[in-house]
Subunit: 362 residues, 2 copies
């Protein structure tokens, strides 16, 4: 290994180094058993403790009450795009969507197969570089749910729509795949939260679900058994063999976050990291942030370079200096630096120093 690599991947993404070191140390011998966690029955006392502890730590971090079930499922957010309407579109068979980018577009398409997905606000015409305005009166009180995407990885925008008043009759469903655990949230505001693990929680292959218990048990008659949230809720995520290693690893990430000081502290650090990069971008003559301040994501910073022909040079030199995954999503181009929880502040300092030097030479 040469100099440390700086990993700005949008996901699967950087994990805390101390977590990986722990995993490495016990990879062939979990707590003196002489076996890897990967090799253990999911019904064993060892794994039972692992999954219970992972759930407890996750609940503690987010302050999740007993009114909610926490589930570990498979299939990523894309599976949730079907699972949500299959489970929640049971009454008016209509749901309201705030369309903030590629992920909500996919969620809308899938919901339209099971009912009516009504788009109440969209920034499509602005190329999704901003969060659309939306008023309380736009929401149909008869909607089965209101769906939001809190962070848009591709475009670098974010909003939890916290100022929006939502009728009590409408559960809020939030795709928080790319900003869960990045700051405190008010879980009671939501009916359902879903998030793939591979940004702020662990390796790809496990999806976390927080669902208000009164929303369980109303799935579509043709809903596949494993896509019914109640199947998982009834068996504490052990209806069949869960992705044991991913759950074990997520538990360690939760522990790391607790020991760091929880969501208040990571919130502070995440603000610091994002501020550092956006401040540089806003004063640079060569680089520019693609998103305006009120709409900016702290997790995914999208940026461009004023002299377009330098983009390839920049990306190539960055990689040579071991700054990885700075290329923007293939659908939008440009650059993107993902600053998830596990990315240390020093990595952002490293990126800014590299960009300053690049600008000086340009």
């Amino acid at each position: 290994m040469n100099r440390p690599s700086l990993n700005f991947s949008a996901g699967p993404a950087i994990l805390p180094k101390s977590v990986l070191e722990e995993v490495k140390a016990e990879l062939l011998d979990y707590q003196g058993t002489g076996m890897s966690v990967m090799e253990m029955s999911h019904r064993s006392a060892w794994f039972t403790q692992i999954i219970e502890e992972s759930e407890a730590r996750f609940r503690e971090l987010l302050g999740i009450s007993e009114e909610y079930a926490v589930l570990f499922v498979q299939g990523g957010a894309t599976t949730q795009f079907s699972m949500v309407p299959l489970n929640l579109m049971h009454d008016s068979k209509q749901a309201d969507f705030i369309d903030t980018g590629a992920w909500s577009v996919k969620a809308i398409a899938e919901a339209n197969r099971y009912g009516k997905a009504r788009v109440i606000a969209s920034s499509k015409d602005q190329g999704f570089v901003e969060i659309p305005a939306v008023a309380s009166s736009d929401i149909d009180p008869a909607a089965d749910y209101l769906h939001i995407t809190t962070n848009n990885t591709i475009f670098g925008t974010a909003s939890h729509f916290e100022a929006l008043e939502i009728p009590d009759s409408v559960p809020v469903v939030a795709d928080m795949s790319s900003d869960i655990l990045s700051r405190p949230i008010e879980v009671n505001r939501y009916g359902l939260i879903y998030a793939g693990a591979q940004k702020n929680m662990g390796p790809a292959g496990v999806t976390l679900i927080i669902i208000r218990k009164d929303l369980l048990g109303k799935a579509h008659p043709l809903c596949p058994l494993m896509l019914d949230y109640s199947t998982h809720a009834k068996k504490n995520s052990l209806h069949n063999t869960p992705p044991t290693f991913a759950i074990y690893l997520a538990g360690k990430v939760f522990k790391w976050l607790q020991e760091l000081g929880g969501l208040q502290e990571i919130d502070r650090i995440n603000t610091q990291k994002a501020d550092l990069l956006y401040t540089f971008l806003d004063q640079s003559d060569l680089f520019y942030a693609k998103v305006q301040p009120p709409h900016r994501s702290r997790m995914n910073v999208t940026f461009g370079i004023r002299e377009g022909e330098l983009e390839k040079v920049f990306l190539a030199e960055a990689e040579q200096e071991r700054l990885f995954f700075l290329k923007g999503h293939r659908s939008v181009g440009g650059m993107r630096a993902s600053l998830y929880n596990a990315l240390p502040l020093e990595a952002v300092h490293g990126l800014v120093a590299f960009m300053k030097e690049f600008e000086r030479k340009a």
Copy 2:
């Protein structure tokens, strides 16, 4: 660590030690990148190579032709119980099932939600300790498919029904979760093969699919996007973020198996291991095999103890001696030793030696 542990888990199960050692060595630094495989974008050149190599090795081991797609999906065999009828029950909306135990029972229940699952043979009345007789004439040539479970982990029975002639019009769908890669098979005999990785292939969290390409693209109109095989086939298992670490690990297990000598060689070793244990059981005065020779599984050996009150003592002493997971499935009781590919012959020798000594003292 004290003496080496002997891991007889039915799944998640033992993995080749050399594979785990390789994974450990590169856990924080994959090929000099300074990053873990878990931290890399699934669109990166690094991971592209990993998934392509995994697929190529799997194809090579089983001799899979280009007529078939190989897919890495999530959700385990239980998700396949829905996915198969959602994709394949498109014509007569009837499928024929050979019922050999708890897993086929679940597959039948799920298929009955999307069409008619016709049970053409069952050993339910025999408590599933044998494989039911079935004749070619039992199969309806109009059935959308014939479903078999080749190995029954809970009961310790196995059959690939290779003597059974199957009408050309009926694709055979096989759940091979617990014996895939344990011996050579004739892939061309099947329309679809599915198998969770956590017995012979890798950690829990990835399911391998082999599907004849002409069976793609006929999913039920309400089939969730991620449960449509063609979604995965079109994007080479990269429609969304796949379980990258599990695919990486499975690739290493495939490589280990190739270097060992492939399926011919593992077949020979598996026979040797199973023979060793069954031979002991058949001559023991204290222990007995639960399944008669023609119906026996080589992967999961179920056995009992003639003096019932000794069962608990046996299991407790075994665990004390670091022989783990010998308890039978909770639904049937008794004992079970799973002898998957990665379990070395010496472990079976160790088990037999322990049982002999236990019998001597009893």
